[in-house]
Subunit: 357 residues, 4 copies
């Protein structure tokens, strides 16, 4: 039985490279040979034990690769094809998936729904920080990479770009909207880019790291607000003439950003939340207009599935956006433990690390 290297969660604080058997695809699966992958902020939560996964699980949910072997019932693909799969791999046939809510896919439940059930890679099944990964429900999830795009060009599609864009999409941004984006890590930067792509005409990015503010401007921000130098709520209200923003995107997952996002909303506006929170949230009465402000608070988990991936790769292929600047570091899979160390401590201006098996 062939064996492969894989980054495996052992216990809080330890993700290590181990040898495992190369898995065998079931009828609906595809086996992918991973050519590039990356580490996500969520993986750090897993590393720290803040987000529990089974011991021995291979982590990682952002695969770029080549089809090595197709399950017996999989049609429409051929071995050797270059593909990506989203971080979220919906079944296509659960009630949630059929209802269009692919990320809440619960194919194993009696009723077809499961909170965040579409997120399987590195969460409920082995992930892709490995030489090989099994893609479940392959026909719903394998998205061929357009000719001419290299691995790093599409590396953000499976998660970062899909999630960031969804912040703009769930906010239903319209031409002429004013939008604030709180936090400019990789997801917030993609939210900024998404807001720009959808026609927002005043985009205000909130961050404090100068390099991130600078990339935010390149990706579409009209104004940047350093929250350590000014109060971001006051500054945004000043920039908008007291009117507030049509849409505020939260891209960090803290009470401070959530609350500030609510405070800068105009009445009738939408708080589009992307962050993964780690404690209860408070909605201040005044910021919420006591419930009379026609406010909307919308959360979105990374949209997945091959149709989503196709659309995102089209954005790259059409030169609307280039996310390669987010790849600040590169490591072979053999040195992934070092990569975790760097990423977990956010050293050296790291944004995203390309990992190549």
């Amino acid at each position: 039985m062939a064996r492969m290297k894989a980054a495996v969660f052992l216990e809080p604080g330890r993700i290590v490279l181990e040898e495992k058997p190369v898995p065998e695809p079931g009828p609906l699966d595809a086996l992918l040979r991973v050519t590039t992958t990356t580490i996500c902020g969520t993986d750090i939560h897993i590393l720290r034990g803040e987000y529990p996964v089974a011991r021995g699980l291979t982590v990682g949910h952002e695969p770029v690769g080549v089809i090595e072997k197709l399950g017996s019932a999989v049609k429409g693909y051929r071995e050797g094809q270059r593909v990506i799969a989203g971080a979220i791999t919906p079944s296509g046939y659960s009630e949630a998936s059929l209802a269009g809510c692919h990320a809440q896919d619960g194919p194993g439940t009696s009723h077809g729904w499961k909170p965040a059930g579409g997120w399987k890679f590195g969460n409920t099944i082995d992930g892709c920080q490995a030489e090989y990964v099994l893609v479940p429900d392959a026909m719903a999830n394998l998205a061929p990479v357009p000719d001419g795009l290299d691995d790093e060009q599409v590396l953000m599609c499976p998660d970062i770009m899909s999630t960031g864009f969804s912040g703009a999409e769930s906010g239903k941004i319209r031409i002429g909207d004013t939008v604030a984006v709180f936090a400019q890590g990789p997801i917030g930067l993609c939210a900024t880019a998404g807001a720009r792509l959808m026609g927002a005409t005043t985009i205000i990015a909130v961050e404090t790291v100068p390099e991130r503010l600078s990339i935010a401007q390149r990706l579409g921000a009209d104004h940047v607000v350093d929250f350590k130098r000014v109060d971001p709520v006051e500054e945004i209200l000043r920039l908008t003439g007291g009117r507030g923003v049509d849409v505020a995107i939260e891209a960090l997952g803290t009470q401070a950003t959530f609350e500030a996002a609510l405070r800068v909303l105009r009445p009738g506006g939408t708080l589009s939340s992307l962050g993964v929170y780690s404690s209860d949230l408070k909605i201040p009465l005044d910021a919420f207009a006591a419930g009379l402000g026609d406010h909307k608070i919308v959360t979105t988990l990374c949209p997945g599935g091959k149709e989503r991936m196709r659309r995102l790769m089209n954005v790259i292929a059409s030169d609307r956006l280039d996310l390669r600047p987010l790849v600040t570091h590169r490591f072979p899979l053999d040195r992934i433990e070092e990569a975790y160390e760097l990423f977990a401590h956010q050293r050296d201006g790291v944004l995203k690390i390309a990992i190549t098996p």
Copy 2:
């Protein structure tokens, strides 16, 4: 100068009947002779000083009446016409109003938005618990009562029915949805009726007052849950086979109902909030799936304007709904202080009181 009687807020704890001059309509106003009005839960907040209004202000925001005099620039109406006006009286010309967000109308601001700015009657201008009331921006707000409908049939349109229905509408209820409605006061009952009208096929009403649960069943609830006898979250999850509800409507304004509404939502579901809250709200991390559940929280202030009123009166005129059972008591305006006393203490099974000047 003609004088009239009006229920006036004097200080916390005191709303009294006083004499005031009959107001004179400005160019865009209409003077209405009030024939029936009612007291709202919000008026009790005002009475208690929990919601601040100016001393001397006439309270009340649910007018049925007859046009007494039209402002000089008002066209399309005639004196003597029977009309209602919504509790919310949008200008039609503010940015908010032109954007369709009539309740957040801010015609006096530089940017056209104001939280709850469309609510003027008995809040920022004199209200309708009086013999006469001025309707601002009359052409946007006067809605003729269809022939054959009496005052009590349309008395819930200006606020209770418009607000309750909006809970169902903002929840975007679809045919086949499962819906829970928390609290079955007048607004919750109208939310239940609205959910039924929009095609929800499993409607679960949560209350404890038996008369209200009984009316809920008449207005469309399939199941009633007495939260004093069973845990409503457990019971709703049981009734839905663990799936939860597509839409949960909050119609009270407390942490307990807000939180329960969130806990019974399926992933991807919508919490449609109608309550007027009086303290900060907490979003529990688990109920919110840490922000990964594709949840939506939507608040709605009573939609107003004459087009809204026309639609609601159509619902009554077409026999889809009869809200007269909500009128449990009747008082002349002269005895409105007694009516406040009864309503504030929720005595005698009161739901709504018709007040006739």
Copy 3:
């Protein structure tokens, strides 16, 4: 090899009962033992050769049955379960299906879209007017029948009810809308019922057959218009005070009904078209306001998939609607040729015929 009886298209004018082998399920299929099915107007188009299908194909697309055998990759069901499948059986994994456009599912195409590609039964694969039928992509399509519902109660779900309701849904009917439904055959009657369920408060049904007009009233029509006695356009404009309707549903497939539907629309209204047309359509310049009327014309093919079926069966199970009155005739499968004869000539007041193998 077991054999079964099946109604097979031979040539224009001839659908006959033949013997065929009972099919063997592939990995993603399920074999259903059909307990009740019915004949659709579309089958008559096939019979007449107006809609071409392969010779030898088993016709029929409205199955109620029992799971006889599951494909090797199918999970979440058990043999012996009572289920229905929609007339449209999406794959769940094509681009169209993942985009929520299940009826235009093109799993065999390079790009995942095919006009009406989701309609497979009795069109591109063997249908269900037979003792057994193979359901493709079973996990996306098998919908368990709730306890307590008999075959005839759910017999309209696979097509008639799903299609009729979609006319109301695609029209985005709102509470208080005025709606006209042109033609009150089985689909038009379900469109009328769907309009009622979604909150339309003035529903005008256009037909000439008295029995159908009578059922239309029972299912929710407020007004019925006999187009042989009055001009329906004039009458509808009269009934709406010159305003026209918010939504007009076309449920026949002719120029006359299409054009009348357009002529009764208010500006900004929606023509929701369900009919299967058999010739080019004309849009009269005046009825279309020269393109300046903000009109929408929307066509919808029967929505399918198990989640759709679940919702529709909920409508029946919750007593919102009883469609058994549409079953005017019953025939055993052995006598299906007689049933075709009766249905094709619309004799004896036939609406729908239950066929039992």
Copy 4:
């Protein structure tokens, strides 16, 4: 009584400069001193008598100007302010306007709707190819020009840009969509720009005039198709790998473009029609998939009102788009007859002519 020059429709073939009294604002009006205006394709229809207006009417519906005098009931503005008003001037208070359908505003009708009723300037009231123009319902329609924008920068906002963008908006273009735009006159060019702004990633512009194709590319087209050199339907299907487009925008108003737009749509796609048609349209059966293709046909009349204008001017002010290249010619009002001559014959590569009183 002061007098002014105005371009007046006399009879088919004759629009001439005449003297007229400067009008006096009613209570809801504002008198604007026009500083720049332009001639629209619609004006040419009027000139030719194809679109009937009253003899003696001042034509033109695209005003940039300065407030000269405010009606007695108008608040929130000051004389001397630089403003624009949309070609469509909704009342804000009709049923149509309150329902958000501002372009179909019928304030003078009993029911509040009128086809294209929001288009008043140069259609039902005197227009703005004059030294002064009355803006009706001024509070709903006067939009202050942001500091730093000159007349020609905002000259396209009242009609061309608002209409063109609405083609993209009504098509509900999403990130990653493929869009075809038929005809690249001023409106088609703005539709192309709008598609780009909303995130379409493959935009195909169809035209034959080389200068227009060249501007189309500058404004966002990825591909240009010269319909005189290739069959546009075949070419678009080729460019999209047989898939067709998600949204096709028709920006001319002919059977040929309408039909081609339908033929290139993928199933489930939207034909967004902007053209003003001058004869009946035909929908070919095959292109329409016999009504089974989930197609949508949506028409949109130029959205108006001050909130719309504010948003469009934000697009300009934020440097998202520069439409000054559309102004190919400039004439003083005194020579407007020459301008009409040039524009009517589309001489000299004309796109838009700035007219300065």
